[in-house]
Symmetry: C2
Subunit: 459 residues, 2 copies
């Protein structure tokens, strides 16, 4: 028997995301009778999505209703599930900040927008404590790792981060000539920093096949393969990370790697492919943004055309995203193994319990039960996961308790920072940027609030 | 009633250190009847120290006997205490390696000799497990933090690291105009990375007096003060670290700070004083090494002069080092508060139990009982202590299980490394240096030993 749920979608003005949500919930028959509240701060982006949802459900004959709001509280009140994909300021803000940051000598930007996004997440989770304390929060917007860890620590809300990056093992399988449907894989760590511990093909260990492919076929692949911007799983950088860390990096893990892959466009091209320099170069990212714009235009145009049949343009097939399988499992005990981001609680040895890790889990009416992973190799722990955790701890600390000294520590730790003076100046200028007002103000207030020692204000 | 102990001194060819040991044990009446075995791999440096010890005891009428050996086992067999001050290769080796490393673009060197020293420490502790499993190991040679942590993890030996750096609080007191004997202080963290949590003068909180001094007198101090090489406690770098971390850095903590204090001699001069550029610049360190040479020459000359009265040249006063107060406390229950480096076991919140921390402790026949410190400020933990611990974990891992990938991770993390290619080349060349043969060989063996995946040898 279907269960009606109330779902709040935060950041629903994101057209591609909301199209996926609409498709998936309309196709999930077990959720018939459910209601979706689409929320966004931007009504102009939101309104087409409401129309899309209503028409799509009608066309499919799906028993799902929609409404929209620019007031977050309305989306959260009495929600059973909250799906959060909001990004502070959206792409325009991020690109504006990035452009300015590049002028200061930080090629491709400095991750301060992570702090702003985490603060949005915390604010949503705190509202949920008041308005829907028993609801599950499914976090889709980035940074999933830091944000879910911060929300777990700072609120009592049940949080699960969801990402599709772990599917990268399928790309790996295909590239080395294996049928992805006959492969099983386990990649664990932190979101966007997951590493392949197991890889089986028809029941046998397929890890040696990766080594064979690298030895015999990788050079030819790199010579001949024309990669799309999203196509970084088998880039040279991935193989080099495998050499460095001892386990193969999966999904977005490859995009970040270390500072040394990202010192210039030339370097990026060497490691991520000659044409684009990977997803995150000015070229690759530009292609991505233009594609996104086109896709949004395409969606909005379809919605504007009252004669268009939306289910013909956007085929009624599940997206493959894990959001609704998760909701279905939690509500109906339709047991399913998903790749989740939840508090560690002993799953990975040597990681504190209140850090959110990405691991496989059994999802059911019992909740989310992460599989125990155990110890990971010392090399991976000490040279990759602990440094990544430390970076996250700084970002989380800066988000929860803004302190100019923490910001300065982050800037100083950045390999692109060449001197102390540069760091101080960049920190000061950064805090004066639009969007950072609240963070800067909290820094001033906390220093002025007493209890602080030392020679006064920093940045 | 005095207790005879057998004390083994490893690295006893270090003349200044051994003179201190001889003085302190001869003056410690509670240890009358004790025997000291001086051990060093270099008999030419060792032999004068044996003569010094025997003559000094005779002149004082102290009931202490000495012998010497170049065989480590002889110094450890049936020892009650082992004092280890050995440094791999001594100063000449370190300076040779430093000179080469500077040519590769790493100003003032790369800390690979820490790895070699930790391996010596581990080898001593493993020998102790066999030869004197109940003895206490008092670790004086550096790196105390990493070495003591590694020995605690890898062996069953009771280890305590001892350093005099925490006395820096006295220098701080004197500089700001307080009588150091009427000040109490607590500085905790890791060895050479300790931070002032408490500072009282005649029972009242004296921390605000530091802030006052900085605001009103520091500029004048820096203008007028002519610092000696060892004189870094009140350098500009110290005050800047205080601003950055929120607690005042004590002792050698100031010398390290962050990479940004050490980018060039000019930068060092700005932060540590115009004349010398601090203890660790080429100027300051040169003065230190020359002073050491002079002191050693002075000691050897005195020993060579059979008519010299050693107790007149080297006054029979306690050195102020904590080694013998500790031994006395452990043997005779002469309870004393000392600053020790021992496994954390809950003393500082958020630091794993198997990490050696520097904290005050009550020392007695019950053993070493660290004082519970509790939580330290989040800023200090996240921006200073955890990064320092991560660095230590890499060094320890590289020492215990040499792996070229871990070495590469350390090189890449170094702010002076400008590119991946530079890192790989530097790593390869470093492993080919004299002194690194054993480490390089272990790296090769462990990779060849199977179980390792990935595209083969790294450096």
């Amino acid at each position: 028997m279907p269960s009606r749920v109330k779902l709040g979608v935060i950041g629903a003005g994101s057209a591609t995301f909301s199209v996926g949500v609409v498709k998936d919930i309309c196709l999930q028959e077990s959720l018939a009778g459910s209601h979706v509240t689409l929320m966004d701060v931007n009504p102009d982006r939101l309104e087409p999505m409401l129309r899309f949802g209503e028409r799509y459900a009608r066309e499919l004959g799906a028993d799902v209703t929609f409404d929209m709001t620019t007031e977050r509280e309305e989306a959260l009140r009495e929600a059973d599930f909250v799906l959060n994909t909001a990004q502070y300021g959206g792409h325009d803000f991020v690109e504006g900040l990035r452009a300015w940051t590049e002028e200061q000598g930080y090629y491709r930007g400095f991750r301060i927008n992570d702090v702003l996004n985490i603060r949005v997440m915390l604010s949503v989770a705190r509202d949920m404590e008041r308005l829907c304390p028993d609801a599950w929060l499914i976090q889709a917007g980035n940074p999933v790792f830091e944000g879910c860890t911060a929300m777990t620590r700072e609120t009592g809300i049940k949080v699960c981060g969801i990402c599709h990056g772990h599917h990268g093992y399928r790309e790996l399988a295909e590239t080395i000539g294996l049928d992805p449907d006959r492969v099983t894989a386990q990649a664990v760590g932190f979101n966007h920093c997951i590493w392949l511990t197991h890889f089986e093909y028809e029941g046998g260990d397929a890890l040696p096949l990766i080594d064979e492919w690298i030895a015999e076929k990788s050079e030819q692949y790199w010579r001949e393969h024309r990669s799309e911007y999203w196509d970084n799983q088998m880039a040279k950088a991935a193989i080099e990370l495998y050499r460095l860390a001892g386990l193969f990096p999966i999904g977005d893990t490859t995009r970040r790697g270390g500072w040394w892959f990202h010192t210039s466009l030339e370097t990026k091209k060497r490691w991520y492919g000659e044409e684009l320099g990977g997803f995150d170069s000015e070229i690759g990212w530009g292609v991505y943004l233009r594609g996104l714009d086109e896709e949004v235009g395409h969606i909005h145009a379809a919605v504007s055309d009252s004669k268009a049949k939306l289910t013909e343009i956007f085929r009624p097939e599940p997206t493959g995203e894990q959001h609704f399988p998760l909701i279905d499992a939690l509500v109906h005990d339709n047991r399913v193994e998903l790749q989740v981001n939840v508090p560690n609680r002993g799953a990975i040895e040597g990681i504190p319990d209140d850090v959110v890790v990405e691991v496989p889990a059994m999802c059911s009416a019992r909740g989310i039960q992460p599989y125990h992973v155990g110890a990971l190799p010392e090399l991976l722990m000490v040279s990759v996961l602990r440094p990544r955790l430390l970076e996250a701890e700084r970002t989380i600390s800066l988000s929860v308790h803004p302190d100019s000294r923490m910001l300065l520590a982050m800037i100083l730790d950045d390999h692109r920072t060449k001197s102390y003076e540069q760091a101080v100046q960049f920190g000061r200028d950064l805090l004066a940027r639009p969007g950072l007002e609240e963070v800067a103000e909290e820094m001033r207030r906390s220093r002025a609030g007493g209890g602080e020692r030392g020679p006064g204000e920093f940045l």
